[in-house]
């Protein structure tokens, strides 16, 4: 059972994450003026569900906070409180606290300090909106002396007067009586109301339940029974009086009557006296005969519980007429809710591995068949089906990139508070679907890019006004798919890269020699060099230059790259170009010094068997190949990897590859074994990214082949200089 509960709780936490996303989207929409009923209801529902689950799993602090937040949202939903922009901003801060509570519940963070925020939310609820003083960010006035309603509102309890019957006022009779040799028996009188039968209720079951507590019927009241002719089967006529042993908790007896209707009569008294409760919810009639010897505190607590009930029963002040909401803004298209099931990611990956194997076996089978058999119709059909299975399994791992974008708004709010800059966020293409692995791994780079833009890119409001810009900065976050690649851009409208400063800094740090002739683009790239930081004062946001170099190395480890484009005075765009999937690659199995490697087919242009003299050595360290009069540089992966290779070039093959960074380059390999699709296994999962390798794969025979990272292998010296290896050399 506890395993099962853990599992359910894990699902609850996933729901929390989804709920937080929905709530944040709704609040952002409200911030942008969409205060339609649907939007407000979606935020309310999200917070409400988090509260419900949190209560079920015993996360007290989270439940408590969500409760206050939900009360305020409920008032906004009911039109009692106007969703003004300042109020939405307060709710966004409350949302952040809620997220922190969720993190705390999952054990990823400490429980946040929330007393002020709860007091503030409750204060707003009591006041019926933000007070004028509270329009800013001042703490709530009610933090000091909460109004009675506020205190009530922040107490999740079911102790209110209740139309389903009477609800208990907390008067501990046993305590009041003191321990005087066992309490007197209870006398319980119950006359059901007509409503009890109307809603499929069955009063007899209530009586039976009291009997299970040791109660016995001492009188049946037939007084109101009409003649048989007038008997209405839908009406209740009987009344019962039961005696229940005095040792039974009063609350246990009351629980039995939890569902009876308001018109029912329920009286619970000690046999020798005197606590009677009427069912009428409006004015709870609490007559407690307090033992004269009982102490003052007990009396006070009785008075207080009565006061609380009265406070709830009286109408709350400042209740406006409900606003007409929902017509001002177009309704959101209701999200198509399709049936879903949750699958353990490990199972999905296992399936993906198996499909990968299937693809491989398929191509091996195809190779081994005679050419006559290859013509048979079954084989291409099998290949097509296999491919379809593979595509479908891949799509199972695809998730909207929104998941990676979702933490950006919060971050910008925090950054705004830290830097005093007001930054707007525009998001484009957040429904673009990307492999889950990619989403998981772009989080950190994205964080650094946003921080860099907020910290270094966007100017202060004064600086912006002086430059003739709007005082608020804008960061545009976008994602789009082009072919098998995903482009994720972070574009700010800030000051752009100050190239003079960057170059001077790079020289000072010894990253480039003072006399280096660098293009603008090359200077921009220096930002990604390790240990580089342009901030005049080291801020606690972007930190000590562990920012953009991390972005670069992380993205390269994913088989992607980072591009930087900057226009002075207008802003900077960082682009992460990533593979659509990290899972499968179409590759050529080649041998280098006898060892098998995988060369990604996407880079391959053609393969040459070099003629004598076609490859020439230009300098001791450089070779070129003559390609119909055009000379392309030659790279020997064996040299780069330090493998022993004395094979003459004429016995080797040259694979011409196209790279983003170095154009066309000839790569020398021993032979080509095969062409097949491989399932990519990352090396950093258990080891560390290795420069020149994009990962490894497991071949059909169980052996491992390493996957070549063409970009890293052919990178020109300018690029390699910034790699950790290059730095050390």
């Amino acid at each position: 059972m506890s395993d099962e509960l853990d599992e359910i709780q894990a699902i609850f936490f996933e729901e929390c994450t989804e709920g937080l996303t929905v709530a944040e989207e709704g609040l952002s929409a409200m911030q942008n003026g969409d205060t339609s009923a649907d939007t407000i209801a979606s935020v309310f529902r999200a917070v409400h569900s988090i509260k419900g689950g949190a209560g079920a799993f015993g996360h007290v602090a989270l439940t408590h906070f969500a409760h206050s937040f939900e009360n305020l949202l409920d008032a906004v939903r009911g039109g009692k409180i106007e969703p003004t922009l300042p109020l939405v901003k307060v709710m966004l801060i409350a949302f952040d606290t809620l997220s922190d509570h969720v993190s705390a519940a999952t054990g990823q963070a400490d429980v946040p300090e929330d007393a002020d925020m709860i007091a503030r939310l409750d204060g707003i609820l009591v006041a019926g909106g933000l007070s004028d003083e509270d329009e800013g960010l001042a703490p709530a006035p009610s933090a000091q002396a909460p109004a009675p309603d506020a205190a009530k509102a922040s107490e999740p309890s079911a102790e209110d007067a209740d139309p389903f019957g009477f609800e208990p006022v907390t008067v501990d009779i046993a305590q009041l009586d003191g321990d005087k040799g066992g309490p007197a028996d209870w006398l319980v009188r119950f006359v059901p109301g007509n409503g009890d039968l109307a809603n499929a209720g069955e009063p007899l079951l209530v009586v039976r339940e009291v009997e299970t507590l040791g109660g016995e019927i001492i009188a049946v009241d037939l007084g109101d029974m009409p003649g048989l002719r007038d008997l209405d089967t839908e009406s209740a006529y009987f009344g019962w009086t039961l005696r229940v042993p005095g040792t039974v908790e009063e609350s246990a007896i009351r629980d039995c009557f939890d569902f009876v209707s308001p018109e029912a009569v329920v009286e619970i008294t000690r046999e020798e006296g005197a606590v009677a409760m009427a069912a009428a919810p409006e004015l709870p009639d609490v007559r407690a005969q307090v033992d004269p010897a009982g102490d003052l505190d007990q009396m006070l607590s009785v008075v207080q519980s009565i006061a609380e009930v009265t406070a709830v029963a009286s109408p709350s002040p400042g209740t406006d007429a409900p606003r007409d909401v929902g017509t001002k803004y177009p309704d959101k298209p209701s999200e198509a809710v399709s049936q879903t099931i949750r699958v353990d990611l490990a199972k999905l990956d296992m399936l993906l591995n198996l499909v990968g194997e299937l693809v491989i076996r398929n191509s091996i089978l195809s190779d081994r068949l005679s050419s006559a058999d290859q013509q048979r119709v079954e084989l291409p059909e099998l290949a097509r089906l296999t491919r379809q299975i593979q595509d479908n399994v891949m799509s199972l791992r695809a998730q909207p990139i929104r998941q990676a974008f979702s933490r950006v708004p919060r971050m910008l709010r925090d950054l705004g508070a830290e830097t005093g800059k007001n930054i707007n966020l525009e998001t484009i293409g957040d429904t673009t679907e990307v492999d889950k692995g990619v989403i998981e791994k772009i989080g950190d780079p994205l964080t650094h890019m946003i921080r860099n833009a907020a910290d270094h890119g966007i100017e202060s409001a004064e600086e912006r006004i002086a430059a003739g810009k709007s005082p608020d900065g804008t960061i545009r976050l976008s994602a789009e798919q082009k072919g098998a690649r995903i482009f994720v851009r972070v574009k700010d409208d800030g000051r752009g890269i100050n190239r003079e400063k960057v170059f001077a800094k790079a020289v000072e740090k010894g990253i480039v020699p003072a006399d280096a002739q660098l293009s603008n683009e090359e200077i921009d790239q220096l930002i990604c060099a390790p240990g580089f930081s342009t901030a005049d004062t080291i801020s606690n946001i972007s930190g000590r230059g562990v920012g953009m170099d991390v972005v670069r190395s992380n993205v390269e480890a994913l088989g992607g790259r980072v591009e930087i484009a900057s226009v002075p005075g207008e802003g900077t765009t960082f682009t992460m170009i990533l593979p659509l999937t990290l899972a499968i690659l179409d590759g050529m199995i080649v041998r280098l010094a006898g060892q098998r490697f995988v060369l990604p087919l996407a880079h391959v242009i053609e393969t040459i068997q070099p003629e004598p003299g076609q490859v020439k050595r230009t300098t001791p360290n450089n070779e070129v190949i003559d390609m119909r009069g055009e000379y392309l540089p030659i790279k020997r992966a064996t040299e780069i990897f330090g493998l022993n290779d004395d094979r003459p070039i004429e016995d080797s093959l040259v694979v011409i590859v196209e790279s983003d960074t170095a154009g066309q380059v000839g790569l020398v390999v021993d032979t080509i074994d095969d062409r097949r699709e491989v399932v990519i296994k990352s090396l950093d999962q258990n080891l560390h990214p290795i420069r020149g390798l994009g990962g490894a794969t497991i071949l059909g025979d169980g052996s491992i082949a390493l996957i070549l990272d063409i970009e890293a292998l052919v990178a020109s010296p300018t690029q390699t200089r910034f790699s950790p290896k290059g730095m050390a050399a």
Binding site: G642, K681, L687, H688, I690, A696, I704
Partner: protein
């Protein structure tokens, strides 16, 4: 040593590198497999022998002897790979021979003395065990086992420095 049997609260697997006996906690051990030549990797320190396929996972194989600063282990029929989990990552350690699995009492673990290892921090402590002889009887004098601190051997930690 006498209360070895009474409050044994830890199980260790013991193995040899040259003449020395080492131990690691059973809780870190995933499996023991026969030596199989791994796929060599470029651009890594020499103690990383390469990578191998552990049920679909690509895991590094480390020459533990070299990692501790000694001569590489010579491969022989009893050479083994201890597959362990260190901070969520898996790795295989090449060892000369797996000798036993023994229960010890944590209170009997003594602090690491001066041993001829370049990095003393990789030794978490020393414990004496009563080794079982070939006939199953316990020998009287016992043997000293060097307990390895796997976290200190974390590959990524070391590689960050080596790269």
């Amino acid at each position: 040593m006498s209360n070895n049997d009474t409050v044994a609260d830890r199980k260790i697997v013991t193995f040899t590198l040259g003449k020395r006996i080492f131990g690691i906690d059973m809780t870190s051990l995933i499996e023991i497999r026969e030596w199989e030549e791994p796929t060599p990797l470029p651009n890594v320190p020499p103690f990383i022998k390469g990578v191998t396929n552990l049920r679909g996972n690509v895991i590094p194989v480390v020459g533990l002897s070299e990692r501790l600063g000694w001569e590489p282990s010579a491969i022989h029929p009893r050479s083994c790979i201890l597959v362990v989990s260190i901070a969520g990552k898996q790795a295989g350690f090449l060892v000369d021979e797996v000798t036993d699995i023994v229960a010890i009492n944590s209170q009997e673990v003594q602090p690491a003395p001066d041993v001829e290892i370049g990095e003393p921090s990789v030794i978490a402590g020393l414990v004496r065990i009563t080794a079982r002889g070939a006939d199953g009887t316990k020998s009287q004098e016992g043997q000293m086992v060097l307990l390895l601190d796997l976290d200190a051997l974390s590959l990524t930690k070391h590689l960050d420095l080596a790269a």
